[in-house]
Amino acid sequence: MSGVTPYLGIRYPLSSEIISAAAEQAMATDMDVELAQADSLADFALGRPSAQVNAGAGLSLVKNTLTTVTWASSNSGTFWNATNPTRITVQNAGLYVIQTSQELTGLSAGNVSTFRVMVAKNGATAQPNIQSQMTPQFQTGQFGANLFTVWLAAAGDFFEVKVLWNGAAAGPFSTVGSSRATIFAWALS
């Protein structure tokens, strides 16, 4: 019977055996499997699965109405497609970082406003599958809100960005077209 190496279990012929083509094939097959795994791990370590999605156009926000951002393009076909334009979908289970920047524009003095940005998992609108941040009150000019979230995701889980504006003015107000979100895999489980 063949021996096996201590770490990876690569088969090799014992000193008492006659070398055969089958024994060499077994060793080559075992080496090939381990090299393929190392190759896959190296791909992840050097370039974690990631994507950036872009809004393309501003989003009109009705006062006090939670609105889902629709993405228009992405640099990756793995996480996003035009069939479900609001969704960033995870292919491999793991720990993911999702960051988004949103800007509200068109405000004027005297109209105190607040702006909430949210990342929601699998269509949630309440805990535990939302993470969000509300800005301090503001009045004029453009106002940006950045959100940085960390999630444990299963294959097939999807994430959406939602925003909510509220304030003294009647509105609506719009986000700017440069809003975007980025997802990258911190660790694969």
Binding site: L8, E34, P128, N129, A187
Partner: protein, 201 residues
């Protein structure tokens, strides 16, 4: 015996009699090297990190003060870093490292009516113990704040810390400017830590 130029794997010379020892040399050499590479890559593929989430209301306050999260669960914790109440501790086996740590806290109103002008300040406090001196220090980091009289608001904060063995505590400081509301940190609040790398010695 000749060896390969990159990794020094032993192989039989041209024309030599090939026996099982040659195959063994090759297998053992590749086995040791490959195991080293996979060990390093596994560490890169699953770096030290933790994600915790609360499952119930924690801490209540109707006056100005620091309140802490309640019961929590570990959503991602392969290195056993998550304790109770969103507390995260660096594993004892890790060297002095840089971490990106942060929180996302949900504020709930458990009684009364919030008044306008109430100020909420989220914060995290890092406790570190210097392994050489044994001195323990606690430093509040990365506060984030806003005014709100609404229930259900969330507050985020994060930052990079240089971290010895020790713990990170997450909480919210209230400055209650009026009203009779009682606040708590609600279920679904999160804390997390992502190891960025070792501090050069």
């Amino acid at each position: 015996m000749p060896v390969t130029p990159n990794k020094g794997l032993l192989y039989p010379a041209p024309g030599a009699f090939v026996d099982a020892q040659d195959s063994y040399n090759l297998a053992i050499g590749a086995d040791t090297l490959e195991n080293n590479y996979i060990t390093q890559l596994l560490a890169a593929a699953a770096p030290t990190a933790a994600l915790a989430r609360t499952t119930a209301n924690g801490g209540t306050s109707s006056t100005t003060g620091l309140i802490s999260p309640g019961a929590s669960t570990a959503e991602y914790d392969p290195k056993a870093m998550v304790g109770s109440n969103l507390i995260i501790s660096q594993p004892a086996t890790e060297p002095l490292s840089y971490y990106l740590i942060g929180y996302d806290l949900l504020m709930v109103v458990t009684a009364g009516t919030p008044a306008a002008g109430n100020n909420m300040v989220g914060q995290m406090s890092v406790t570190t113990t210097d392994p050489l001196s044994g001195i323990t220090t606690t430093t509040p980091y990365y506060k984030s704040s806003f005014e709100s009289n609404n229930a259900g608001e969330q507050i985020q904060g994060m930052g990079i810390v240089k971290w010895f063995q020790g713990s990170v505590f997450f909480g919210v400081q209230f400055t209650n400017s009026g009203g009779t509301a009682t606040y708590a940190i609600g279920p679904g609040s999160r804390s997390w830590a992502l190891r960025l790398g070792s501090v050069p010695s």
